[in-house]
């Protein structure tokens, strides 16, 4: 999570949050909005699953590889993944915005396929040295027979996000995924486990009570400002 202190600006790729005095201004490529937030109220940016901007229509995430990948034997890959950010004032969610370009696609046919959040991804060879803004996801790949794969798809609804401190910012991770190559697509399921040790699991934004407890317990920022 990233606190937005009075008199500061936070940029995450295409998302900007500026705070001066009581004014809080938020913008992303799809909307912009201003709020009046008293200076003694903490403002926090929390990564959430990319399902809300501009409207919730997708349940799955489809990651399109920059170039098709040949899978011949079981392996593990790390891929760049998008996320959205929820802006909280105290324990209230003010708005959810997207630091990344938002697109959707149909997996299957328009008659009865799946509406998916779409993202053009790339494989990350060195996840520990990764300096980008995107989240990272690890996928263990099972291969029954060699195939050329153009994308990865998985159900986002039960996936957890995790964070780790990384230099001056934060790094976001997805749950470890377990994938199987089938008909040119890597179809993955959620293992509900973190991809690495020592990561902090982010809460799902479901209600103010749970959020307040989480914020006070994890960051300490809100307590200091109060």
């Amino acid at each position: 999570m990233i606190p937005v202190k009075v008199g500061s600006e936070v940029r995450l790729n295409e998302f900007v949050a500026e705070r001066s005095g009581n004014a809080l201004r938020l913008r992303d490529p799809y909307s912009s909005q201003s709020f009046e937030v008293p200076e003694d109220v903490g403002v926090l940016i929390v990564p959430v699953l990319p399902m809300n901007v501009p409207k919730r229509v997708a349940t799955h995430l489809y990651l399109s590889f920059e170039s098709p990948i040949v899978f011949e034997e079981p392996t593990e890959i790390w891929a760049a993944m998008p996320y959205e950010v929820a802006v909280l004032a105290g324990d209230k969610v003010l708005k959810v915005m997207s630091p990344f370009k938002v697109k959707h696609t149909v997996f299957g046919t328009p008659a009865d396929g799946l509406i998916c959040r779409w993202y053009k991804t790339r494989l990350i060879d060195d996840p520990e040295g990764y300096a980008g803004v995107e989240a990272l996801g690890k996928v263990t790949v099972k291969v029954e027979k060699p195939d050329v794969v153009s994308g990865l798809i998985f159900d986002m609804r039960d996936v957890n996000l995790y964070i780790a401190e990384a230099g001056e910012g934060l790094r976001v991770y997805y749950d470890l995924l377990s994938g199987k190559v089938k008909e040119g697509v890597l179809r993955a399921d959620n293992t509900a486990r973190p991809p690495l040790e020592g990561l902090r699991r982010l809460p799902r934004i479901v209600g103010p009570g749970r959020l307040a407890g989480f914020i006070a317990r994890v960051t300490g920022v809100i307590e200091r400002e109060v």
């Binding site: 799809y30 901007v53 501009p54 409207k55 229509v57 997708a58 399109s64 370009k101 938002v102 697109k103 959707h104 696609t105 149909v106 328009p110 008659a111 009865d112 396929g113 799946l114 509406i115 779409w118």
Partner: protein, 276 residues
């Protein structure tokens, strides 16, 4: 003599009492069977069948069993069933002729349930009415039109109509035509419109957007813009692209012309023909 008449009376009474008792028990058994069948239907059939169909079916079955059972149970009392059945048949024919429409609506309701061309909440176009299905009952279907008006459609009319269901697919295509002037660069216009759709979060990547030259019209080159959007946001996406198309074309200098007519004035030399 008196003793004989009294004992005969007692015997007759005892016999009738037994008959009445048997009839009473038979009716009670019939009612118990009907109630058991109703209980079984509520447990097994009710969760699986739309409520409006189940309610009619339950009444038909339960009352049918009770009526037939009671009539059969009354036979020992000497009540002529044949006459009742004939009278019932004639009455049924009379009622049938008088209520053809009602029966037709009822049967159409059953067939609509079996075929299920729509469900409550679907966006549909039926005859001249476009809107959302608000209620489906055994005799009629109610639509809330896009203008907020509630329309009741008899099921027999509905069953025989063309029904367009816009909610049955996860994605729908939008398309519209736009004319550009003959001195505009077609490729610049195409790229500007494609970029507009590529940047819109709800225009799908697959199936992808298209911009096609479909006609060389009298006043303009006609382009057809096509894109797909999730059904739940189809209308908003379509309207958004339609609204932004003009400014997308303005930026690279592509013009949308008014209808035009080129007038050529020709001078006819004297002596070669008379003007009109």
């Amino acid at each position: 003599m008196v003793d004989l008449q009294f004992s005969e009376f007692l015997s007759m009474l005892g016999g009738n009492l037994l008959t009445y008792l048997m009839v009473g028990v038979s009716i009670a058994v019939v009612v118990a069977i009907a109630l058991f069948i109703r209980y079984w239907m509520r447990r097994v059939a009710k969760p699986r069948i739309p409520l409006h169909v189940y309610t009619a079916l339950e009444k038909l079955v339960v009352y049918g069993i009770i009526i037939l059972g009671v009539l059969a149970a009354l036979a020992p009392l000497g009540i002529e069933l044949t006459g009742l059945l004939i009278a019932g048949g004639i009455l049924g024919i009379v009622i049938g002729f008088a209520s053809q429409t009602v029966v037709s609506n009822f049967l159409s309701g059953i067939f609509l349930y079996i075929e299920a061309p729509f469900k409550v909440g679907d966006a549909v176009q039926i005859m001249d009415y476009g809107g959302r299905i608000e209620d489906i009952s055994i005799m009629s279907t109610k639509i809330r039109t896009w203008d907020g008006i509630l329309v009741r459609l008899p099921n027999d009319k509905l069953f025989n109509s063309d029904i367009t269901n816009y909610s049955r697919s996860v994605a729908r295509r939008f398309r519209f035509k736009i004319g550009i002037s003959y001195d505009s660069d077609i490729e610049k216009a195409r790229q500007a419109l494609l970029k507009l759709m590529e940047e819109h979060p709800m225009v799908l990547v697959n199936p992808g957007p298209q911009v096609l030259v479909v006609e060389y019209g009298d006043s303009a080159i006609i382009l057809e813009v096509r894109g797909w959007a999730p059904t739940q946001v189809w209308f908003d996406t379509y309207m958004s692209i339609l609204r932004m198309a003009k400014s997308a074309l303005d930026r690279p200098g592509v013009k949308i012309p008014f209808p035009q007519l080129d007038l050529h004035i020709k001078e006819i030399p004297k002596g070669q023909g008379s003007p009109v």
